[in-house]
Amino acid sequence: MTQERRSPVAGSWRASPNAIKLNQSMRLMRRDVLLSGIGALAAWGGASAAPALDTVPPPVPAVDPGLARFMDVSHCLTDRTELDSAVGAALYAGMVQAKPERTAQIATLYDLKAKYRLITAAELAKAAEKADKALKETIHDIMIGWYRGVAGGKVVVYRTALMFDITKDAIYPKTYAAGGPFYWTTKPPEVARPTGLPALSPSPFVVEPT
């Protein structure tokens, strides 16, 4: 028998779902986005322009005003005082990269919140949709970002998405179970029927085809 013939084409096959959507330079940067926090915006935009770290001292990070507005609006729309700033930077970068108009729309949300001194998520969402119907989609993007960990159709965080944080007393994210064999036989917590109302008008619910 002879040796298996090795193909350079075969050897290069290692595509991942995100990699399929991204170009080569973007593919290399996703993990860095998660790790670099304040530098994430530059990374998502293409860090190849950044100088090498071993030749230039790291710059003092400047606060991107767009990112600051995004974080402020996010705190309001989640009714949370604490959100992870590194995740926020990556979400904002992904969101704006996919839809550049989000920068201005988030600024509008920020201005609305300040102008009317809005406190709760419901107040801001209602005011936003009343002011401009297009802002509903922007709010959806922000909710999808924080709760699903997805921005611009790409996964930014999985295990630490808020949807898993708020259900962690009952269930694990898929592939991250830590309860040991047969944990699933125990009784999970009861959940009362919610009484809160939606703040935005309903939208068609489209299940992605498999």
């Binding site: 998520a121 996964v155 898929k174 592939t175 125990t186 999970p188 939606p198 935005l200």
Partner: protein, 545 residues
């Protein structure tokens, strides 16, 4: 381009899934040389676990497994499709998903390891429908057990919970305990319906087994078990390789060569990714390349000797395509929280509709209450309803803990008009035509699905369900079968009861493609049992003449 390589073995196997790899393992351990040719690449589990975690559309079972240009597989279950082209009135119902990778499609399966019922092999005799197999349940029973031991199947004690398939030995492992959600569903069914819930037999460890760990309930059996507690074909590949079998990845078989008399296969030819051609000779050949790819290869090998394709004197290669076309509904339970998705994906089944006198007019089926983590679904649903902030979080918790999904596997019948052919217009990078399937649901299946819908409506009512979302039409269950159908008569079947082709004495087929009918329950254990029976036949012939 043709290489001067001269690969040869006692037995040459095309396909490295459960069937091909388990045959290889059996034969090589009996001292028989084996070469396995796999069209796709060798893969590792963690790569695909990472792909899954990075996948935005988590329910996409094909998503973590991108195919290669030289061995394409369906990228998804959408019609039209970039690889498997379906046509006919029920084209979407036959949009199957499968993988062309080392280890095969069981990289994503739920581990459900059903034996067929004795009646499933005698549908024509007992109910006047479809066909009888050219083997009986009793013929297959020892190989069912061998397959259960090979895979590591857990299941209930038959003296407590009889699943209807007589057993001579107990399951290798005790049944998997039902989840809390499954247990609540079982209580409801027991107390308020005439039906019952059984523990589904599964190729999943309830104790350390065969060097693999106990299931930890990651709820990701499909698309990828992250720890290998669930059997898949890769484990039989590893075992066979350790014993000396040679597996060649990225080897796309495109031709089956026969002798001058057209009675014996002499070699198969494969392309590597650069379209270099290689010839592999042997004494025996087994095509174990999945139902669709197996038929495709036989048709692709048509030449002057066999103008309609290899092993196709009956004209039945590619015909009689079947599946467990199903019905699915998702709704919000009005009862107490269930929190589905804690534990393995599928643990419980209503099995009352697997057999009965009514099979003379409608197909059998079984019902799963899927134990799937609904947090992501709940989040998307709640956002679409317009919730934000604190109210959104309350909705996510409620919907994730109360969402219920039911689906069924409904029995098809072999119909020669439901047919796989080679595409006349679509080819892959090697110039090999894509498969095309015409499909029209048999009325037998349609009536079965109608019955299922009525049962689901009763269950939704019992659970005070709201927000019903019925998956439109019928959906494929990825259990394709029938394309090289088994039978006694060479005039209307492709293989005999031992899976030997009627036309070529040293050519066997080990795949769901040989199924004469499709019964109920996932097909993989029956595929494995048939494959092990093929291995047994080959051992007898090679070792004892």
């Amino acid at each position: 381009m043709s290489s001067d390589q001269n690969l040869s073995a006692d037995v040459v196997i095309v396909g490295s899934g459960v069937a091909g790899s388990s045959i290889a393992n059996e034969l090589v351990r009996a001292g028989i040389s084996v070469i396995v040719l796999e069209a796709g690449p060798r893969v590792d589990r963690q790569h695909f676990v990472e792909n899954f975690r990075n996948l935005e559309n988590k329910p996409s079972y094909q998503g973590p497994f991108p195919s290669t240009p030289w061995a394409p597989h369906p990228p998804n279950q959408q019609s039209p499709n970039k690889y498997l082209h379906t046509t006919g009135p029920d084209a979407e119902a036959y949009q199957q998903a499968y993988l062309r990778l080392m280890g095969g499609t069981t990289w994503h399966w739920a581990g459900c390891a059903w034996r067929y019922l004795p009646s499933d092999f005698e549908l024509k005799t007992r109910y006047g429908q479809g066909r009888d197999w050219a083997l009986s349940y009793d013929d297959l029973e020892p190989f069912y057990y061998q397959a259960e031991v090979m895979m590591g199947v857990c299941g209930p004690d038959p003296s407590v919970e009889d699943l209807g398939s007589p057993r001579k030995q107990p399951y290798p492992m005790e049944a998997l305990p039902l989840s809390y959600a499954g247990e609540q569903f079982r209580k409801l069914i027991t107390e308020k319906t005439p039906w019952r819930i059984v523990h589904e037999p599964q190729a999943r460890n309830t104790r350390p087994y065969d060097g693999r760990p106990t299931c930890e309930g990651h709820n990701n059996c499909m698309p990828i078990c992250p720890i290998g507690a669930m059997y898949n074909g890769s484990y039989s590949v590893y075992h066979a390789e350790a014993a000396g079998a040679k597996f060649i990845p990225n080897a796309v078989v495109y031709k089956i060569e026969r002798d001058a008399a057209n009675k014996k296969v002499t070699a198969v030819h494969y392309y590597d990714p650069d379209k270099g051609s290689h010839r592999v000779s042997g004494k025996y050949f087994v095509i174990a390349a999945h139902c669709i790819e197996t038929a495709k290869l036989l048709l692709l090998s048509a030449d002057e000797q066999s103008p309609d394709g290899v092993a196709n004197s009956s004209g039945h290669v590619g015909r009689n395509m079947m599946d467990h076309t199903g019905v699915q509904v998702t709704f919000i339970s009005g009862d107490k929280a269930l929190w589905p998705g804690r534990g393995p994906l599928e643990t419980n089944v209503i099995d009352n509709f697997r057999d009965g006198s009514w099979r003379n007019e409608r197909g059998a089926y079984l019902v799963h209450m899927v134990d799937d983590n609904q947090v992501d679904f709940a989040t998307q649903l709640a956002i679409s309803k317009g919730y934000v902030g604190r109210e959104l979080e309350e909705q996510i918790r409620y919907l994730a803990s109360h969402t219920v999904r039911l689906f069924s596997h409904n029995e098809a019948l072999p119909d020669p008009e439901n047919r796989l052919t080679l595409s006349k217009t679509e080819k892959d990078v090697l110039g090999i035509p894509h498969p095309e399937v015409y499909y029209k649901l048999p009325q037998y299946t349609v009536r079965s699905c109608d019955h299922t819908r009525s049962v689901f409506k009763q269950l939704i009512h019992l659970m005070h369900g709201t927000d019903e979302e019925w998956t439109p039409g019928y959906f494929p269950q990825d259990h394709p079968s029938g394309s090289t159908i088994m039978g006694v008569a060479p005039k209307d079947s492709v293989v005999d009861g031992h899976c030997r082709t009627h036309d070529h004495e040293n050519l066997f087929i080990a795949s769901s493609s040989v199924f004469s009918t499709v019964g109920t329950g996932n097909i993989t254990l029956t595929v494995a049992a048939i494959a092990l029976r093929v291995a047994d036949t080959l051992k007898k012939e090679l070792l004892h003449g």
